[in-house]
């Protein structure tokens, strides 16, 4: 019999509906695992056992009445960027203090309506700014994977959704919510050997998600299978009149696309993605991915995305610009941390100096600079022009191909002590993922193999706007071909 923490969401659904396990049992098993492993992994900032057990009991009652929702009794981790009514929400920042939102984000509202159980709030980089989870004010998250023969070396889980990915990988949740502004779902999914999808911008409402960069932020799921991501995404998606950038489009049955196959699909291979510093193992894995898809009947097409080389620079103008404005509301006046000062300006300076970490301050400064009089045209306006060109690259690609295959990250997870002091070197982690945010298109990362040290490596699939179904079809095919069965060293006892 499968250990409760090893279920897939689809498997747990079947077991719950067949009464082979109760939602309370499934939730307890996860809470036990969290209790055991979270002190080490630090994947959760806040654990909510009472809330979870009450939700599980309600799910059991709903199942007993024959009124189970798609997620009734499914234990999830919620990235601590989603506001949850009555539950402390931190964005992994000191500046929010003990902020308890009186409102629920639209995405978590939808998950609750479908019956989900929330185990707690997952750790992240402060305000979702980072690729290592080391910028969290609540301490970094440990990647549950270990290099072969080096169990003492702590690896980063990636970021910013590092807590979400680590929790799912270590069996501390069946799935998790996450957000992706430049790769924050896909890079940690790849580092932790799990699957994540950033849907099209506008697919999931941003209402109640603490903003980092509004034109790039998008919610999505992390789970252990492509099908599980499809199940979660269906519940999370949909038009929301409370978010003016939310798309008024029907939500398809994403899970139905997973088994669709790739026969006849044209898969683009962008030549510009063979970047300098790409590990040979990842290059080999990429080739392997192409071979799998070809074998399944897809056609490979070499394409060009010439403006990709400007994507990082563009991102690090647009995102900090928006962030500098979005984070102005954290001023110590109405909620969160306040450090009193001799006057209003002093109160601002003290509160923000004490409340924000180094990476957040860096991005606020960069953002303020690029929007300043005299620099706006050279930076912000230019970046918007390049962004339009990056989007045009993709629009032209869609005339030739149905989807694009790339590596998810240039390297496998790196050690906590191996991070460079140079923040710009850190930004290179997002080199493959960032274009999807700039263009607003969907992107999926999934594990496809291990490197020589036994660490998971991921592939990324990019698709047309609002064509997540093709991503699920291709992801399903790669998942079947890769047959990725490896599990992390640190995980709930099987």
């Amino acid at each position: 019999m499968t250990a409760p923490t090893d279920f897939t969401i689809a498997g747990a659904r079947a077991a719950l509906d067949a009464r082979r396990i109760s939602a309370v049992e499934l939730t307890r098993a996860h809470l036990d695992a969290v209790e055991q492993l979270n002190p080490r992994l630090n994947a959760y900032i806040t654990i909510t056992p009472e809330v979870a057990l009450a939700q599980a009991a309600a799910a059991d009652a709903a199942i007993a009445r024959g009124e189970a929702g798609p997620l009734s009794g499914i234990p999830l981790a919620i990235k601590d960027l989603f506001c949850t009514a009555g539950i402390r929400t931190t964005a992994a920042s000191r500046i929010l203090g003990d902020f308890v939102p009186p409102y629920e984000s639209t995405v978590t509202t939808k998950l609750l309506q479908d019956g989900a159980v929330f185990l707690g709030k997952a750790n992240l980089d402060e305000f979702a700014m980072g690729s290592s989870n080391l910028s969290s004010a609540f301490g970094g998250v440990e990647n549950p994977w270990k290099r072969a023969g080096a169990p003492e070396t702590v690896l980063v889980p990636g970021g910013s959704s590092g807590g979400s990915a680590a929790a799912v990988a270590a069996r501390l949740a069946l799935g998790a919510t996450a957000t992706d502004t430049g790769g924050s779902i896909r890079q940690p999914a790849a580092f932790c050997g799990v699957t994540g999808i950033k849907p099209t911008y506008g697919r999931c409402s941003r209402y109640g998600i603490i903003a980092y960069a509004s034109s790039l932020d998008q919610a999505g799921p992390v789970a252990r299978t492509v099908e599980d991501c499809a199940i979660l995404l269906r519940s999370m998606s949909g038009f929301d009149p409370k978010d003016s950038t939310s798309a008024n489009r029907a939500v398809p049955d994403f899970a139905a696309a997973v088994a669709r196959g790739v026969k006849g699909l044209r898969i683009g291979i962008p030549r510009e993605y063979r970047v300098e510093g790409l590990s040979p193992e990842i290059d080999a894995l990429w080739q392997q991915g192409m071979d799998w898809l070809k074998a399944e009947g897809a056609e490979l097409v070499e394409i060009s995305l010439p403006h990709t080389r400007h994507a990082l620079a563009t991102y690090y103008i647009v995102a900090p610009a928006e962030a500098s404005s979005n984070l102005a509301r954290y001023d110590g006046v109405r909620f969160g941390l306040r450090e009193d000062g001799k006057d209003l300006k002093d109160l601002y300076e003290r509160s923000r100096a004490a409340g924000f970490g180094a990476e957040v301050k860096r991005r606020i400064l960069v953002g303020t600079y690029v929007l300043s009089a005299g620099y706006y045209d050279a930076y912000y306006v230019k970046a918007q022009q390049v962004r339009a060109l990056i989007k045009r690259d993709f629009d032209q690609a869609w005339e030739k191909v149905d989807a694009i295959l790339t590596p998810a990250t240039p390297t496998a997870a790196f050690g906590r002590d191996e991070t460079q002091d140079d923040p710009v070197a850190m930004y290179l982690n997002d080199v493959f993922t960032i274009t999807a945010n700039l263009a607003g298109i969907p992107g999926m990362a999934l594990p496809a193999g291990l490197d020589a040290q036994g660490l998971p490596l991921g592939l990324q699939i990019l698709g047309r706007p609002f064509d997540e179904e093709t991503l699920f079809a291709i992801g399903g095919a790669i998942e079947r071909a890769a047959d990725f069965k490896a599990t992390p060293a640190v995980r709930a006892a099987a």
């Binding site: 409102y103 984000s105 209402y207 960069a213 978010d243 003016s244 006046v333 909620f335 209003l344």
Partner: protein
């Protein structure tokens, strides 16, 4: 003769442009569902959006957009079917988001024009540069506590229209006439209540001076002036200050100033060097505002009649003098009152009574058209009593006074006081006979050519009838009897 300020070096011309902030009349705020009513308890009308809470997002209020479009149409301005919201970033305790959502580069309304009228009857076209929608900020209260400031966010997020004029105004009078006309149009449209005491309408006044024929010199902006009178005073005070500076060989620095209403002078608020860098950029939470041309046409078709059109109609259709038409159309409520009185009656007679005795009565009792003790229906009934000869004009004036005092209907007053005019020729003749008998000597004088005495007989007859004799009949019968 154009307005100038005489300095030691000659005449100076004044150049004025106004930026008017008009609060949009709407039930809810620009980007949240919170209410907008004036005078609520502090912080009683605040949504989490208005308070800048984490994860909250703005959603545009369709009615506020419609109000801006109506205003644009009323200002004969270009309606931009594509416009955009930008963030204006600055820190202040009553600005919860740390930015104001405004329209910087692409406003919803472009160039327009309105016509002002000056006391001497001259008319002048004043250009409108643009109108854009933006959020109001909250209010800081610094006088509630010795060391702390209080914040009231009721106004935070309320929709404002900023209406910018071209620098076409040349005198305090023109500035006052422009603001009066703008307020009148807004009130006719129902897009802003124009209440300056409550801050629904306030003006930033841009003033510069120059020698006739010159290009523009440096201007200063006098912020937040909240009455038409103060706008006119601020223009004059600021213009004189600048003339003095220039004439003393100094330079006017571009800066933001405040008008001290007690001392009647402007004083510096912040210089150009201290000016904020607002770091405007497009608000990523809001897609561009795209209007459907058909929707704009619908709004246009449903627009109420505006002051200029109404005034022209009163002159053309009702035969009123331009002056009466102007007075009656100044306020929408007055025009509505007038039309209710004039309906089915002689429009000129209605206009005369309203602009004459009725306005005088309102003034005397300190009332206004909105809380007039006399309804349009009752005033109309009074005019009917004149038309059917029940009341003479003189009696009607007396009845009107009683109406102001008691609020009673004219018919009731006439009954109660027996003020009905006497039109019975027999009764009048009897009185005349009596008067002639008593004044036989005067009758003889009259008949020998002293025709001036006719008035004496009218007076005596009316007196004997306690003023109730129909004046025309009294005249006719006297003439007949005196021969």
């Amino acid at each position: 003769m154009s307005y100038t300020i005489e300095g030691g070096t000659g005449a100076w011309e004044v150049v004025i442009g106004l930026e008017v902030h008009a609060q949009v009349t709407s039930l809810a705020k620009l980007f949240s569902g919170a209410a907008t009513e004036f005078g609520a308890e502090p912080n009683a009308q605040v949504s989490f959006i208005d308070a800048g809470f984490p994860g909250m997002l703005p959603v545009i209020n369709r009615e506020c957009v419609a109000q801006a479009v109506r205003t644009g149409l009323g200002l004969n301005a270009q309606v931009n079917l594509w416009s955009r919201f930008d963030r204006k970033n600055y820190f202040y305790a009553d600005l919860p988001q740390g930015y104001q959502i405004s329209q910087y580069q692409f406003p919803i309304i472009g160039k327009g024009e309105i016509e002002i009228e000056l006391a001497d009857g001259t008319r002048k076209a004043i250009g409108i540069t643009r109108l854009h929608l933006e959020q109001d900020a909250g209010k800081s209260l610094h006088d509630q506590h010795p060391t702390k400031s209080y914040i009231d966010l009721n106004r935070s997020g309320v929709a404002l229209m900023e209406i910018v004029s071209e620098p076409d105004l040349r005198s305090p009078e023109e500035a006052g006439a422009y603001l009066t006309k703008l307020r009148q149009i807004l009130r006719y449209l129902g897009t802003c209540d124009g209440n300056m005491e409550q801050g629904s309408l306030r003006a930033d006044v841009n003033v510069s001076v120059r020698k006739p024929g010159e290009g523009f010199r440096t201007r200063c902006e006098v912020k937040n002036v909240n009455s038409i009178r103060f706008v006119m005073q601020a223009v004059e005070a600021e213009a004189r200050r600048q003339v003095e500076l220039w004439e003393a060989g100094e330079v006017v620095e571009q800066e933001t100033r405040l008008f001290d209403t007690t001392r009647g002078v402007t004083r510096s608020m912040r210089s150009k060097e201290d000016a904020h860098d607002y770091r405007y950029f497009p608000d990523p939470d809001l897609p561009p505002l795209v209007l459907d041309a058909a929707w704009v046409e619908e709004l246009k078709a449903a627009l109420p009649e505006l002051p200029d059109a109404r005034r022209a109609r009163y002159v053309q259709d009702f035969g009123l003098t331009p002056y009466d038409a102007h007075v009656l159309t100044l306020e929408k409520e007055t025009a509505a009152f007038y039309e209710a009185v004039a309906r089915g009656r002689d429009p000129k007679m209605a206009a005369n009574w309203i602009t004459g005795d009725f306005f005088a009565g309102l003034n005397r009792t300190g009332a206004s058209i909105g809380n007039s003790p006399i309804s349009a229906a009752d005033l109309g009934a009074l005019l009917d009593l004149i038309s059917d000869s029940t009341l003479s004009g003189k009696l009607a004036k007396e009845v009107l006074e009683v109406m102001f005092e008691t609020g009673k209907a004219p018919g009731v007053i006439v009954e109660e006081r027996g003020l009905k005019q006497v039109t019975d020729t027999g009764a009048i003749e009897a009185v005349i006979d009596e008067v002639m008998a008593k004044n036989a000597d005067k009758v003889a004088e009259y008949r020998s050519g002293k025709e001036k005495l006719f008035g004496f007989f009218v007076g005596q007859t009316m007196k004997a009838m306690q003023g109730k004799g129909n004046p025309a009949l009294v005249n006719d019968l006297l003439k007949k009897k005196l021969g």
